[in-house]
Assembly symmetry: none
Homo-oligomer: 149 residues x 4
């Protein structure tokens, strides 16, 4: 007989890790010489930590948050959507209208040992720049989580 | 002389039937090995019954509800939209912005003897998976309604 | 030296438990002879399971969801708010405008061993009726969780 | 003859200062032993920096942001509203419905030399706690701006 399951466990990104990721992202932004908005959300897409670099475009504030939301709530990097949509017309013309769903680069799930704990979203440059900023943050994640959990 | 009509009757899905459909949908979801959100609405699109399988993507919660809403409020399965839109640019580029309208698979009207009584919407996989889950639920509807009304 | 904390763990209500609570709530609703809407959310307030009894007032659909949301996202039963607000005019006139916050009875946190795992919200009668329906569901929770975790 | 004015200057809080204020606020939150959400906005109310302490109530995420928004966009601490409203029924019953306006404590304008540069908002405890957290952050502001500008 299978046991009755009353609750399921999940992990969420800590503020401590979120702050480290923001720092690394801002560092990368300075290196690129462009002002970005950077958003960290927990695994259900709720805002956890946020930094807007000085003079970041106002439009980037929401886009960064929506990218982080998209990445966490579907557990998929935002740049991975387009290849899955481009030959599937109903999705290409339909899914893109989903509120807060971003289908271009700059949003990544944050995982520890393969388990989703949150998302990061960056906006301010072309999405290829935004992706570089995310990747700089996620490198720090890897360094930190290799050392300790 | 035509009779004066003071009221019109309509039927709405019962909670009892809704619960049966949800059970069948969850069963199918387990068989596919993916966590889905499943929504049942009444004939005017109001939420009647809902189940989110454990670890269903957060994004699927609203999409499932919007698919059920779309199917019931236009009395059309959501996968039937695209073929009607694709050669009609004003609709293809315009109608898709209708709030809550979903134009890809995973939403079906629920009917008894051809009469609309509600809608079902499923989200969590590719829409082909979502459609399988809906169809499993609608098979139960057919079995139940063949036996009795 | 304190250890670096990269993630925090939390538990969420399962669909299996949610379904049991809905059944108990509907049972109580039938006993009271009134149609209720009953909503179960997880610990961050996302919809997990929902039932609208046949002929439940349309207005009750959203109120039930908002009560469950309020109870889970502030970890407080909705009927406990008023006594804390009534002699604190800035809150009494201000806090009540918080979107989705309900300050009358019919929403309860769902906890296991003192840990928040979700919320239940009921609407359809006077809030004293709604509270009875919630309590009937939470009694089942207690029975189930005393037997197993 | 008055001069033709083609542009007006304004100052906005920097990310560097915002980060310092967040750190001081989180420190105070730990001292109080409660998890708070802390939001910093610029002088027009746009999000600049944000931290949600681990296990902060979900409801506090938006309230903190709305308090910071209210304080900056009206250049008034949120706790100063009630005394101005309480004997003015049209405002007391009308103004409180303004979207995002919070009229209880926990939101403060951020100023340098009397000039508005942003706002801070805190939520998670009773508003008297939230105010203590804000004040701890604003003390740091004073220390920093006494030393240099």
């Amino acid at each position: 007989m299978t046991e009755f399951v009353s609750a399921i466990s999940s992990k969420n990104i800590s503020l401590e890790l979120s702050t480290k990721l923001l720092e690394a992202a801002v560092e990368k932004g300075k290196e690129l010489g462009m002002p970005f908005s950077i958003s960290i959300v927990d695994r259900v897409g709720n805002l956890k930590a946020f930094s807007a670099m000085d003079n970041a475009p106002v439009l980037s504030l929401d886009i960064a948050q929506n990218k982080a939301f998209s990445a966490a709530t579907y557990n998929r990097a935002t740049h991975e959507w387009y290849d899955r949509l481009k030959d599937d017309p109903p999705l290409l013309h339909g899914l893109v209208h989903t509120e807060r769903l971003v289908i271009f680069g700059g949003g990544y799930p944050i995982k520890i040992d393969g388990e989703l704990i949150g998302g990061i979203g960056v906006s301010g440059g072309h999405y290829t720049h935004d992706m570089q900023v995310c990747e700089a943050a996620l490198e720090v994640l890897e360094q930190l989580t290799t050392k300790a959990v």
